[in-house]
Amino acid sequence: MTTPSDTNARLVLTNATKSFVTVRALADGSITLYPGEAHALLGENGAGKSTLVKILAGVYRPDGGELRIDDTPVEFNGPAAARAAGVSIIYQEPTLFPDLTVAENIFTGRQRLGTFRRIDRRAMNLDANEIFARLGVRLDPEQPARGLSVADQQIVEIAKALSFNSQVLVMDEPTAALTTVEVERLFEVMRTLRSHGTAVLFISHRLDEVFASCQRVTVMRDGRFVRTEPIEKVTVDDVIHSMVGRDLATLFPKTATVAGEPVLEVENLCTAGVFDNISLTVRRGEIVALAGLVGAGRSEVARAIFGIDRRDSGSVRVNGRTLPNGDPLAAMAAGVALVPEDRRQQGLVMAMGVDQNVALASIRRLARFGLVRRASERRLASNWSARLRIKSGRVRDAVATLSGGNQQKVVLAKWLARDPSLLIIDEPTRGIDVGTKAEVHRILDGLVGDGLAILMISSELPEVLGMADRVLVLREGRLTGSFSRADADETTIMRAATGQHAGAVA
């Protein structure tokens, strides 16, 4: 428990609670930040970290609890109030205005003014350049934010946060999309800020980063505060145990299988500027993981195999038959299924029911004389709901009302209903709570046991290491590593993913 009477603390949040209509997102959010200290906030997805961050940001008003800054109770009625109190936030997803310039993005609402309160663009651009110089990056302040790479967008976010000269800086997984060099630069900035007395709250799933650059760590689980410790008092295993609250082995229930004949054979797949010369094979009964940093081109390879994007050259064979270029229907007919990365945008029709979503890819089979009967949709959906243990009120309920994990199961059900021979699954457990995560893994394990071939894209190394029979690593559109289950470990994969040799590994 944090002590509310801690007078050295810059920011103290005590027993904050927040509920939404159906879910209790935060049951006990407590954290104490000290000036000049980097404080890591750890927890699995769904542990309540983002809710806590949004309370600090003034986006959510807590239902209960107390927030004190410099020992004075405060209540934020909006993001502007939080900012005025000296709290600035770098969100996980960049929150830029694509149509405005980089400098305008940094200084939104605080543009330098000249006479008659006109915006002084020159001064504003100079200010932006000054911040970029402090960050050691080169970005054109007059360039529109549209088209910036994710890393560059993150740099703009950081520049924005810096421009506030805040007393408290909250970074919600800022490194997820960055390369090693960029991460290192970010930590450099973090050190500088700390030396000026800024209190930093740092959220990351990369524990090595946390142990390398934070002084204190708080763990949350299921919306509750678990513990706060100085970093030197805990080990990685301690922290993981607190986060997960259960044995790690149950998270990755991988049974050994014997790979059969090849199902997917990709040869020299190229798309100019996206990926180059990709060759890979996935056999019956094995999970091949495609690892690499965000933006390495993994999803693009999957899309090209499935035929969503056209490939420039190279061949894709499924069960010995060559797939035509850019024809997803042919890929489906050949027995390929693709569970996309962004299930809300690409995997589901959010406003439609569980039954209609499950039936979506099998609609031709269910139709008679061109008409689909709701009853057959419902039968299919109830069948799969039971097999994958989808928790929904009724099968007619809109998938938007389901939790992330159950939504993912609906997407899986939709494809499994077609009885595919190859499943391509992009980030199978992103944004899913720990319990359901293990369930999804168990489903995948059962599927390969039945002879399915799975190509799995994942940015979570534990998942890659825990589930894959073979690991292929992609860096900047090229295959830079191929490891068997026995040879793969975090170090070898990260080296191949970042293109770094012995020593500095993220």
Partner: protein, 339 residues
């Protein structure tokens, strides 16, 4: 860093966008030139004045419409606001003998009130503006019909000094056009140079990020609607000056002509980008084509077809442009990104 490589195509994109106004201007000149070759009367002073004053009202309305559309909203009530303002103005002239200035004031206030209602319902009740302003279109038409009650305000009721605004010129430019050019210039400058106007772009560009950035989106959108309504009120007064008569059909169909002009002028229909100057030029272009067809003795039925075709071309061009840029960025990012 990938910045340098990513910057190039983006720069090109931006300069193309900036050149949008130039592009429209060139098309206008081309249309005028081609028509003048076929019909030498087309470049007469009177004909040019007609080009300008014919486009003036739509151009004026497009200023407010641009501000609204940039925030991912739309104002469909401008046409009927023009009709109402024009009739009420004329009615007061005829029966109350009010001064020209007072008449303008009444028209403008009327428009502002309509805009305020649009803005309030849209921002407070969070009803999509498409529906709000469509409903408003009908409400005002209904009210207008009741007030008009089958009457017509005819030129005899209107002071001569007032109708002069419609046809008197200064150095060959109609006063009407001068008023509109001033409004466009002021608004165009303001849209670039003030925090509040940059907020409009931010709101349309990424509403979630605007909320996180603490932008008072409701207030800004409300203001955009009030400006749009106010300009529609002003346009109503100018409508009366231009036509010297009005009945209950004044301004019918203007709303769609304005949206067409705005889109042809390069304002993104889903918000975030575009300029007031571009929109006004869009209005001028549509009117120029209209008149060119008349001057070339092409059947007036073609007018609408050409305007529609142009609209499609403008949208297709924008789409093509953004796809090209997306592709360009992709290849720039994938290949050159060095860690």
């Amino acid at each position: 860093m990938s910045t340098d490589t990513a910057a190039r195509p983006v720069r090109r994109f931006e300069s193309l966008l900036r050149a949008r106004e130039l592009g429209i201007a060139i098309v206008i000149v081309l249309v005028v030139a081609i028509t003048a070759v076929r019909n030498s009367n087309f470049l007469d002073a009177q004909s040019v004045q007609q080009l300008l004053s014919g486009a003036a009202l739509i151009a004026l309305l497009s200023v407010g419409e641009t501000m609204v559309i940039i925030t991912r909203n739309v104002d469909l009530s401008v046409g009927s606001t023009v009709g109402l303002s024009a009739y009420v103005f004329g009615d007061l002239f005829k029966y109350q003998h009010i001064s020209v200035v007072a008449g303008f004031a009444v028209g403008i206030v009327l428009g502002a009130v309509v805009g305020a209602v649009n803005g309030l319902v849209t921002t407070v009740l969070r009803v999509p503006s498409l529906v709000v302003t469509l409903a408003m279109l009908y409400v005002i038409r209904g009210v207008d019909g009741m007030i008009v009650n089958g009457h017509t305000i005819d030129p005899t009721a209107i002071p001569h000094a007032f109708t002069e605004v419609g046809y008197r010129t200064l150095f060959g430019v109609p006063w009407l056009a001068i008023i509109v050019i001033v409004v466009v210039a002021v608004a165009g400058y303001a849209m670039r140079s003030f925090r509040a106007s940059r907020d409009l772009y931010a709101i349309g560009s990424n509403p979630e990020a605007a909320a996180l950035a603490g932008i008072p989106a409701g207030r800004r959108v409300f203001t955009a609607f009030v400006i749009s309504g106010t300009l529609a009120g002003l346009a109503g007064a100018l409508f009366l000056a231009l036509h010297a008569q009005v009945d209950n059909s004044g301004g019918i169909g203007y709303e769609l002509a304005v949206v067409a002009a705005v889109v042809v002028g390069g304002v993104a229909i889903f918000g975030g980008s575009g300029t007031v100057v571009g929109a006004a030029l869009g209005a001028l272009l549509l009117n120029t084509i209209n008149q060119a067809l008349v001057a070339s003795k092409v059947s007036s039925f073609w007018n609408m077809a050409v305007a529609g075709g142009l609209l499609l071309a403008a949208i297709a061009f924008d789409r093509w442009l953004s796809l090209r840029v997306a592709r360009g960025l992709k290849s720039a990012r994938g290949v050159h990104r060095d860690v």
